[in-house]
């Protein structure tokens, strides 16, 4: 019968040898790659992280369609879409830097933890060189932080909170979509001109990062127009019936209701408000009005006739008549049979912008790509001239003020553009109080 004797010295020796053995592959792999997931073969993999289940699955579905279209165009397929109208001519339709573009998808479920898990899996298991997507600011901010730590670029999808490129901005993260501040800056003068200077407004606000920043921005710009805030009531995200929040509105003396809600919240709160007959009422001698600061065509469809005549803002709309929009709508519409949403547009642009930055930088290294995106000015992607500002990685472009159409000619024709607010009216300094806190930090190539 043998007896094993474990000594302190023996344990230390074994531990040291085992540790060195385990560390060896990491040492070699670290030296072998200059950055995380450096592509070695003839292809490069992008990670599309969108809500494929949960309440924003329809928006995620539209984003995924646009991503697939972008990949097709990058690889030289289809009619080329906005590759033909993009002011930068670095992309040739032969992939990115000569490598064929492939993609993997993840399901964010519109939950931050699920989004981080799927992004992590795409980076670590599938070798994704870039992550893009998200239909919620909470998800975008969580994924952006993960990508910063992992050393890959994050090209944000539909995220409208000021914080994404404000206090939570990261060197590896970039946003093409507009933000809550820009919506408020565009809407303030339009609302004042449409409804008069002496107005009292009541806000219902989704209780999370986007809602808070949207409410704060609306308050600042409406008060600047001479309006008075009666109350800002936070509503939990899980709320489905807003009747108990809406019932006290008329009694409060307010004559305008601002719904800082998005997605299902927006559909339900607007439906409840219209059912309560708010729009038929007269308060303070004025017609009662409802405003939805962030509009989405997909959500407008859910609210049906309730959106008619209601003002809001949007990042882009398929009815624009510039060459980029026409090319994208033609490509997308021919392939899928209906016009793209603003979510589809922004993610398509982000994919092209990333690919273009790689081409111009001549590398997939996140630091090189980031440098190429910083301060990049471009046109031809549907929003007029755009600047990717270096200080915070936020795109600056014109903002559309839209209104629910009174007589839609089809199920897609729900919104009409009432004003294109010029970019200089919505531009702010990087140290603007709404965006203070946090730091961009240094780019992280990972590896």
């Amino acid at each position: 019968m043998s007896k094993s004797i474990l000594t302190r010295r023996g344990l230390l020796k074994t531990g040291a040898i085992a540790g060195a053995g385990l560390a060896m592959p990491l040492v070699f792999s670290k030296g072998a790659a200059a950055y995380t997931n450096e592509p070695k073969g003839g292809s490069v993999t992008l990670g599309f992280n969108v809500p494929q289940s949960g309440p924003y699955a329809d928006e995620g579905g539209d984003e995924l369609r646009a991503y697939k279209l972008a990949v097709e165009h990058l690889n030289g397929g289809g009619d080329g879409g906005m590759l033909n109208t993009f002011s930068s001519k670095a992309l040739k339709g032969n992939g990115i830097l000569g490598k064929k573009v492939q993609f993997v998808t993840g399901d964010t479920q519109t939950k931050s933890d699920a989004a981080r898990a799927s992004a992590k899996s795409m980076i670590e298991k599938d070798g994704a060189i870039m992550i893009t997507g998200g239909s919620s600011s909470g998800v975008a901010i969580a994924t952006q932080g993960l990508c910063q730590d992992a050393g890959v670029i994050f090209m944000a999808g539909l995220t409208h909170s000021n914080d994404t490129t404000g206090k939570d901005k990261k060197a590896n993260g970039f946003r093409h979509f507009f933000n809550a501040y820009m919506s408020a800056a565009a809407l303030g003068p339009v609302l004042s001109s449409a409804y008069g200077k002496d107005r009292k407004f009541y806000m219902l606000t989704a209780d999370y990062t986007w809602g808070w920043t949207q409410a704060a921005s609306m308050k600042a710009f409406l008060e600047h127009e001479g309006w008075t805030m009666v109350k800002d009531v936070r509503t939990p995200l899980a709320t489905t019936d807003f009747s108990s929040y809406i019932a006290p509105v008329l009694n409060s003396g307010a004559d305008v209701l601002i719904l800082n809600h998005y997605g299902g919240n927006m559909v339900n709160s607007l439906t409840n408000a219209v059912n309560f007959g708010l729009r038929d009422k007269t308060v303070n001698g004025k017609n009662f009005e409802i405003v939805v600061p962030l509009y989405s065509r997909l959500m407008a469809k859910g609210a049906g006739a309730n959106v008619k005549g209601i003002l809001g803002s949007t990042n882009w709309h398929w009815s624009l008549q510039d060459a980029g929009t026409k090319a994208f709508v033609k490509s997308f519409g021919t392939k899928y049979g209906f016009p793209p949403s603003q979510a589809a547009h922004t993610v398509y642009c982000q994919t092209l912008l990333y690919a273009d930055a790689c081409e111009r930088a001549g590398t997939f290294n996140p630091c090189g790509v980031g440098e190429a995106l910083q301060g990049f000015q471009f046109d031809g992607l549907g929003n007029g001239p755009v600047l990717y500002r270096a200080a915070d990685h936020q795109c600056f472009k014109d903002v559309l003020v839209v209104r629910g159409k009174e007589n839609p000619s089809s199920e897609f024709d729900l919104l009409e553009v009432v004003q294109k607010t010029p970019v200089d009216k919505v531009t702010y300094k990087p140290d603007n109080p709404f965006f203070k806190g946090g730091a961009l930090g240094q780019c992280n190539p990972g590896a």
Partner: protein
């Protein structure tokens, strides 16, 4: 005072939905002894019956209008509803306008059939299994049903508007002597409250005044003895499952104009409805109705800004706090009977 009346009114329609769902849950639990977590999904499917009927009545043929262009610059496809071309403008558009009330008639046989299929096809195999197994299988069924609806209808809410005659709101403030706009209440919510009252009364009358109902009540009290009398109680209980499904279904149909239906709406009501059943007393039909309205009104009060400014977030937990309080003081719930779930 006006704020209090306002929140009582608000609580009534939410309470109506809780009471109708909880009534069905209690019927199923009282008769078959099954904890049915798929009951919320039945409510959701009821709402989608309204959506589907609206779509069926709006089915259209397409004509091209060269004077207008679609998003691709081609002649616009103009949709013309078949019912309008068959029955004329007035009657055809009237059918579409009244699609939600019409859906009630359609939903009853649909939901009865769905209820029978669920009970015969799946749930009867779990009668003699532990409650945990029943919860797992019915919860799984609920997920399957909602994913099927999502696959067909998408994840976004779909509007199912009330008839035009019932849009807008009634100014209770003026009626009660308060100033205008102090207490407003949508017409359709009033209809929903009255409708739930009719359905609940109908179910109670059915159980109280018909021979079938008497047998069912006897079976709920002592299944074995009723069986020994030569009565096929299982068949009657299966029918009760169908009736419970129909009650949840019509509750869903009528709820569709209040909030645009989406595939997840059943889950939103399910958990709270279970709390309602527990607070009312497992197996007690009057308890479920009483607790439904009580918790609906309490939840509405907790959403008041004045209360939330004192206790933030109270509206999210008030129902559970009340449930804890009632179960601590009356462990069988408000109107629970001895012996139910106590073995």
């Amino acid at each position: 005072m006006d704020a209090i009346i306002l929140q009582v009114l608000n609580g009534l329609d939410k309470g109506s939905a809780y009471a109708l769902i909880a009534l069905g849950l209690t019927l199923i639990f009282g008769t078959l002894g099954v904890v049915n977590f798929a009951h919320g999904a039945i409510f959701m499917i009821g709402a989608f019956v309204a959506v589907t009927l609206n779509r069926l009545l709006s089915l259209s043929y397409v004509t091209l209008d060269p004077s207008q262009k679609n998003f691709l610059g081609q002649p616009l496809e103009v949709k013309n509803a078949y019912v309008v071309s068959w029955f004329g403008d007035s009657f055809g558009n009237g059918l579409i306008n009244w699609s939600v009330p019409i859906a009630i008639v359609v939903s009853i046989p649909v939901m009865l059939a769905l209820g029978f299929a669920m009970e015969r096809g799946l749930i009867k195999h779990f009668y003699h299994r532990p409650h945990a197994d029943q919860i797992l299988v019915t919860f799984g069924l609920a997920i399957v049903l909602q994913e099927i609806i999502k696959a067909f209808y998408g994840a976004n809410p779909i509007p199912a508007p009330a008839p035009e005659a019932f849009r807008g709101s009634f100014d209770f403030g003026v009626w009660l002597g308060f100033r205008p706009n102090a207490i407003i209440y949508p017409y359709w919510r009033m209809v929903y409250f009255l409708f739930s009252g009719i359905v609940i009364s109908g179910v109670f009358a059915f159980l109280r005044f018909t021979t079938f109902g008497m047998v069912v009540r006897a079976g709920m009290a002592d299944r074995e003895t009723v069986g020994l009398l030569g009565i096929n109680i299982d068949r009657r209980f299966t029918i009760m499952f169908g009736i419970a499904a129909a009650v949840a279904g019509v509750a869903g149909v009528m709820y569709a104009p209040i909030n645009s239906p989406n595939y997840h709406m059943g889950m939103d009501f399910l958990v709270l409805s279970f709390v309602v059943v527990v607070v009312g007393g497992m197996g007690s039909l009057p308890g479920a109705v009483l607790a439904g309205f009580l918790l609906g009104i309490v939840e509405s009060f907790a959403s008041m800004n004045e209360i939330k400014s004192i206790i933030p977030g109270i509206d999210q937990i008030i129902i559970y706090l009340i449930a804890i309080l009632i179960l601590l003081t009356r462990p069988r719930g408000l109107m629970g009977r001895a012996g139910v779930m106590e073995d």
